[in-house]
Structures are given as structure tokens and as C-alpha cells.
Symmetry: C2
Subunit: 482 residues, 2 copies
């Protein structure tokens, strides 16, 4: 073998190589020419038609993969561009991606260049394009399931344990107050924005839950960005948000169950949900802890990740089968895996980038497709939209401050906590999409609620900065940036 690379007569070896190569190619071309000459005379049986081709050709009328790749490319590119611009205004990246989805959807691109939008995010009403939308939706769902699993993994429930009382009091107050206010505003909105096939109870419950969401990941990101994550405020905020997430998603699971079930089934769904949560904490958690200890002792190998991903898929399927959403099982499984185990850290690190960069853009595309800002037309509609933002903010902010003051926390920290808990981000969009796909909220209300989610999330970082810094003008990023 060494002769091949260290020959003393390189020229003659090169000659050998060239001769060999020439003969090889010439022989190949001549052979294929000869074979093709014979082959052209051959007759194959007549095509039997349907059976072979239909399964394939129907989907190849529309190149589903090309549409999906183009949509992902457009959302990722535009989302990163917006995120890069918004970073100067200290906004979390997710805001840029949500706006990119809306811009590429019917609200902006669809209004200006319908053809361009239909290429990216085709109209699902035309039959072959339904395949494209369905594929995008599945990728979005897979992304959301994995994302909620990561959110669960990153929750530190043990840390909450240390100040459980304050965290539970504050977070539950920050759920209950907006929940009740949301149900209250439902009295006003139901006759205007709902239809007779949606029962008032489902509508009010859903609106209540949607108002009471806090986005743990964005809250954590904002705290880290402003270097507050190790302060008293940061620690209590993270604990509250973690408790809030677990509570609000359990509540959502129940609400979805009620909305989906017939009246008699609601009890079954509720019982199944409670049983599932109990099983996860009382049976799955001890088993998982033992398995993780064993796996880490033995050293993590290439079987660890598949086992956990199979568990994730099974937990998602279980909650989907119960009738509450697949994301709930994924989130709960993540939450019961200890936050600081090596398994959890490695898994979260492995999943994070592909999920957030590659899969979630499909979710932003679907959300953008569903958000028709044009439906909010006229002064009255924008008034309702403003009222929704007001109720959501007052509920979250008021509930948090009330409880925080009651638990003996000072005014400024309480106010900062209130602002932080008001960030809704991606989690709110996941909830809203569930509501829309169940038909509990109309496309018009969906658009209003998306705007509410955007506004409350965008408001968080600048106001927090003002509160914490005491409001000196030189630290105003909003003014410095533009």
C-alpha cells in the first residue's frame, strides 16, 4: 500500500494511473452504449396503471418537501433577521420569529403578494396543498412537543421546594386573578366573538387559562440577559414561574378535556388527567430517578437518549389519548426529570438547537398563517383588543403584586415580579393554537390574543429594566436603540 503514496518514480506511477483511468472510463462508456443499444429493443410489460403510481404521483403533483423546505428557510431567515434587529431593543429572539411568521402569513405578505405567500404557506382549502399544511403542522407539533419537554427539563422544582410557600401563593394568585378576570371579560366577548356551537363554559374557561399563562423560558432569558438570575428577585421569579407553568398547564389540560368532551365525558377526562399526573409523580418519577442514577453510574451511552425519547413519545401519546394535548405529557415528563442530573443537561443541550432553530419555525409559520390581523377591522375591534391586553396585564400584574405584598415582599420587588410574570411569549401561542384547533376561539379572537401575547412579552424587558435600574435615563435601551 505504501507504494501508492511514496513511490520513487512518481511520473511513471502517474502514467499508470492515467492509463488505468482512461481504460476504465472508455470501457464503461463503450459497455453502457452497447447495453443501451440492446436494451432499446426490449419490451417491458404494459404499465398496469393505478397501483404503482397513484400512491406516489398524487403527492408529487405538489412538491410537498420543496414547499416545506422553502417555508422553513423563509421563516428561519426572516425570524433571525428580526431577532437580530430586536436584540438592540433588548427583546427576546422569539418575538422576532413570531413577527416573521405573521409577516409571511396572510396579514402582510398575503395582503401584498398573495402568490408569494401561497408558495410558502399554501392555502389549505385547495386539496393538494392540504398535504403541505398537514406536514408543516406535524413538524410544528413535533417541535412544540420537544420544546415543552425541554421547558420541563429546565424547570427546577427542587429549588421551588425551598421557598414553596411564597412561590405557590404568588404564582397561584397570578393565575387565579387573571383567570377570573378572563372569565369575566368572556361575559362581554362571548356574544360578540363566539358562536353558538361553543358552550359558554368552554369559552370562559379557555379565556381564563389563556390569560394566566407565564412563559418560563422567556422569563428566564430576560433575567439572565439583565444579570438578575442570581438576585433575590431572580430566584423568586424563577420559582414562581416554574410553579405557574406546572399549575397553568395542568389547568389547561383540564380545560381542553372539558372543551373536547361531551358533558358526561368531562368527568372521565378529569379523572384520567388527575390519574395521569398522580402516576407521573408517584410511579414514573421514582422509577426514572432510579434509572437515571443507574444510567449515570454506568456512564451515559448511546442507549440513554433513545430510551428517554421513547418515554417522551409515550407520555405525549398518553395525554393525547386521554384527550388533553400531547404537549402536556411531554412537559410533565420533562418536569419530573431532575433539573441538575447529567441526563437532563445533556438531553436539553442536544435537543435545544435543532428544536428551536429548525422545528419551531414550522410552528411560527402555522401561527402566522392562522393570525389574520385583517380580521381586527374597525375601531370597535381594536378597542376589544386593547381591553384584552389591559385585562391580561392587570390580572397578572395585580394578582402577583397582591400575593407578593401579602407574603411580605417589598413594593419594588413585587412590581418587578408582576412585570416578569406578565411575559407570555411562545407558551401563550401554543395555548392559543390549541384553542383555535379545538374551535373554542374564533380566528378573530385568536388574532387579538396573539397581539396580546406579543404586547405583554415585548413590554416586559424595557419596563423591568426601568424598574430595576431606578429609571436613570442613560440606561434606557429603547431610547438608545432608536
Amino acid at each position: 500500500m505504501s507504494t501508492a503514496s511514496s513511490n520513487s518514480q512518481p511520473r511513471s506511477e502517474f502514467g499508470t494511473f492515467l492509463t488505468f483511468y482512461f481504460l476504465l472510463l472508455a470501457g464503461a462508456i463503450a459497455s453502457f452504449w452497447w447495453i443501451q443499444g440492446i436494451g432499446h429493443e426490449l419490451k417491458a410489460p404494459a404499465a398496469t396503471g393505478a397501483s404503482i403510481t397513484t400512491g406516489v404521483s398524487k403527492s408529487s403533483d405538489v412538491n410537498v418537501v420543496a414547499h416545506v423546505l422553502a417555508t422553513l428557510a423563509a421563516v428561519i431567515a426572516m425570524g433571525n433577521l428580526f431577532a437580530w434587529v430586536l436584540k438592540r431593543f433588548h427583546q427576546p429572539a422569539v418575538i422576532g420569529e413570531v413577527i416573521a411568521g405573521i409577516v409571511l402569513g396572510p396579514s402582510i405578505l398575503g395582503a401584498c403578494f398573495p402568490a408569494a405567500m401561497h408558495f410558502l404557506i399554501p392555502d389549505s382549502s385547495t386539496d393538494p396543498h392540504e398535504l403541505v399544511v398537514s406536514s408543516l403542522k406535524t413538524i410544528a407539533q413535533l417541535g412544540v412537543v420537544l420544546y415543552m419537554f425541554i421547558v420541563g427539563l429546565e424547570l427546577n422544582l427542587q429549588k421551588v421546594g425551598r421557598q414553596a410557600k411564597a412561590a405557590i401563593a404568588i404564582s397561584h394568585a397570578s393565575i387565579v386573578v387573571p383567570f377570573v378576570l378572563g372569565a369575566l371579560i368572556a361575559l362581554w366577548l362571548y356574544p360578540m366573538l363566539s358562536t353558538s356551537d361553543v358552550p359558554f363554559t368552554s369559552f370562559a374557561l379557555f379565556l381564563g387559562v389563556a390569560m394566566s399563562i407565564t412563559a418560563f423560558p422567556i422569563l428566564a432569558r430576560i433575567l439572565t440577559d439583565q444579570r438578575l438570575d442570581q438576585t433575590d428577585l431572580g430566584v423568586i421569579a424563577l420559582s414562581c414561574a416554574a410553579t405557574d407553568d406546572v399549575t397553568a398547564w395542568c389547568l389547561l389540560a383540564f380545560v381542553v378535556g372539558v372543551a373536547k368532551a361531551q358533558i358526561g365525558d368531562a368527568v372521565i377526562v378529569a379523572v384520567a388527567t388527575v390519574t395521569f399526573i398522580a402516576l407521573m409523580f408517584l410511579v414514573a418519577r421514582p422509577l426514572l430517578l432510579r434509572w437515571i442514577a443507574w444510567a449515570e453510574l454506568r456512564g451515559l451511552d448511546q442507549r440513554t437518549t433513545p430510551v428517554l425519547l421513547i418515554a417522551l413519545l409515550c407520555a405525549s401519546l398518553a395525554t393525547e389519548a386521554i384527550g388533553i394535548h400531547a404537549v402536556f405529557g411531554a412537559f410533565l415528563l420533562g418536569a419530573i426529570i431532575p433539573h441538575d442530573s447529567r441526563v437532563s443537561k445533556e438531553l436539553s443541550q442536544k435537543l435545544h438547537d435543532v428544536v428551536t432553530i429548525m422545528l419551531l419555525p414550522a410552528f411560527f409559520a402555522i401561527t402566522g398563517m392562522n393570525t389574520r390581523i385583517g380580521l381586527i377591522n374597525g375601531f370597535d375591534s381594536w378597542l376589544i383588543c386593547g381591553a384584552i391586553i389591559l385585562v391580561a396585564t392587570v390580572g397578572k400584574f395585580g394578582g402577583t403584586i397582591l400575593a407578593a405584598r401579602f407574603m411580605g415582599i417589598d413594593w419594588r420587588t413585587s412590581a418587578a415580579l408582576g412585570i416578569l410574570m406578565n411575559t407570555r411569549g411562545l407558551m401563550e401561542l401554543i395555548v392559543l393554537n390549541i384553542g383555535l384547533s379545538l374551535g373554542v376561539i374564533s380566528p378573530k379572537l385568536f388574532a387579538m390574543m396573539v397581539i396580546m401575547a406579543l404586547v405583554t412579552t415585548i413590554a416586559t424587558a424595557p419596563i423591568l429594566r426601568k424598574l430595576v435600574s431606578g429609571g436613570e435615563p442613560q440606561s434606557h435601551p429603547l431610547h438608545a436603540g432608536g
Copy 2:
């Protein structure tokens, strides 16, 4: 705030907490009760029917996400089980996953428990299930595109440069000989297994390319497993396989172009393909090298991965638009990114696990669904299948030995090289699925070729072990394992 966690009177604080919590919950329940009482009297406008619900309800007749999650869970679980068993026989994990796909498809599960199979991998002919199959296909395609990108990233083209002559001579001979033999056997197979709507040229070209694939990733895995990757044999084998991959996939791009194009268009596709390859090497590569140097100097940040993934999606879209397959663009982009740059290593590490564990199982499910072993019925069919395996092996093995001996490599190393180049694995399955979806090969021939890919891949590791160890009985893993 410190009062919340370090109070000197824990009992009274707990009392405060309980009182607060009780009032909160009682207030919430009472309020909701009251609101619901009023809300029940409210009348919402009558449902307008179609517009809101149809877009949603059609897909919710079949729970696409549940089907997809169940299929992924089943393939991942069974694939890992088989891979774990086959590891004792020194087989690469991919063999287990391919077999899992086939077992869960119509060949085994479908024959025994059709209902179970239809739940996992539904029949695409029934309309609503088309959405499930289409979604699985899209996830599979996304997985394959990302996987081929990783394969490209892991190719070390600079290493090939050092022994370019031997690598080119051996790898091209190992392509040309099976290519010509594949075209030759096409003369026999065309009248039996093709139909009149497939031109002989497309059929023969495709069969030729399908015979000449070598799976670089599996070859690399086998060499690492047997600790041969740093030996002379390992280095030359990796160089040959890398050259083989680039050549065979360029050839495949051309063949797919010819098969898809009308006669006049074939020239346009060929010109576009050559132009694309030239642009990638002459324009994109220098730009990328400069960008990578800049990015690594500045320190990789959260913008690096999105930029490369957008480039990946654009390259895939470009080749899809030309009419050659999306995987080709992904592979070529990976190949032009320097193998040992930090960007490449981090990206490959980030993508690897999610892609192979989570997304590729969708590809194995689709491949299993397409593989109907039952179509190979009767002695004649199995004879053809055996002939295909023989031709593929003789072509790959013979071509490699011929060229290796000609380049002055000793007999034993030449034979080991021949065996290694005969491993086809996942890459062959990707090629076969492209052929099937284009309609160039029939489902029956597809099943035969899948068996060929499995047999040649399974044979590699044990025979190599025998050749390299010289055949001492104590090192026979096959006997030791079972």
C-alpha cells in the same frame, strides 16, 4: 423578601399562607360560578358553518399527530431493541432500525395484524390517512436531508487529497464495474420487472447507480468498531469511500435528472447540475471558508447555526428546483465545509442525535412501508433477488480489488477494501426510495434491492473481521454471540 424564607415564626407565617390560599381559591371558585351562571344566559351568533371549522376538522377526523408520534415511538423502540441484539453480532445499529421498519410494515406486522399496522403506518390510499403518510414522509425527508448534510460534514476531502490517485482509481473502479454490471443485469430484469412507461435508459442508469453506492458512515463506523480506522487499510478505505460518495451522488443527481426530464430537458438538467456543482466548489466554498474563518475568530454565537441551516435549506431547494433531489444539495454543502473546522464539528454534534434518533426513524418507517417482501414470491423471484445480490457484490468487490492491485496494494488489503466498499446501508435505501418515488423501479424490484442492501451491509463486518484477524476461531464474534 427574606421574610418569606427565614421567618422566626414559621407557624404563624404558615397560617398566613393557608388563610391567603384558602381565600384565593374560594374567591376564584365563587367568582367563576357566578360568571358561569350569567354566561349561560348569553346567546352567541349562530355558527356560520364552513369557514371556521373545515380547515381544522378535516385533519382532526384523523389525529395526524397521534399517528405520527405512535409510529415514531414504535420504530424507535423496536429499532433500538433490534440494534441492541444485533450489536452482539457486531452489526451496525442501522441494520436493526431498517429491520424494525420492515417488521412494522406490510411484510410482517401487516401480514399478521393488519389493524395494528394500519394504526401505525396507515394505508395512504384512504383519503384522510394520506395526511399521516405525507407528514411522515416530510419528516423522513427532513431527516434524510439533515443526515446527508452530516455525512457531507464528516467527509474529509483534504485527507483524500494526500492520496488522491489511489483513492480516485479505486473508488471510481468500484463505481464503474458495478455500474456496468448493473446496466447489464438490467437487460435481463427490464422485461420482467419494469413497465413500458419507464424507458430502458432510465432503468439501466438507475440500476447501475444503485449497485455502485458505498455507505461512508457505516464503513467509518465498522472501521472504528474494529479499531482499524488509523491503519493503512482504514485510511485508504475512508478516502476511497469519501471519493465514492461524492462521485456516486453526482452520478445519481445526473440519473435522476435524466429520469425525470423529457428527452430534450435532460441536457438542461445536466448543464444545471454541472453548473450547480461548479458554483458550490468555485463560489460557495471560498465564501464559506472566509465566513467560517471570520465566525470562528469572532467566536461562534447563536447566529452561526441558523446561518448554516438557512444555507443548507437553500442548497437543498436549489437541487430540488433543478430536478435532482434535495439530498444532493445538502450533501454537497456539507462536503465543502472543512471537516475539521469548529463550525463543522459543533454543527455535526448538535444535529447528529436528534436526526438519527428522532427524525430518521420516520424514514425507516416509510422504507418499511414501501418494502413488501410478499411481492418476492416463488423460486424465480428469489433467484432474481440472489442474482442481484451476487452482481452487486461481484461488481463492488471485483472493481475494488482490480484497481487496488493495479495501484500496487497487497492482496489481503485489497480484499479487505473490496469487502468494505460493498457496505451499502442507509445510503442505498435513500437512493432506492428516490427511485421508487420517481417510478423508475417497481415495488417488487424495490423489495429485492432493499434485501440486497441489507445482505451486503450485514456481510461486511463479519467477513472483514475474518480477513483482518486471519481467521483464528477465538475471534469469531458470530460464533461467540450466537
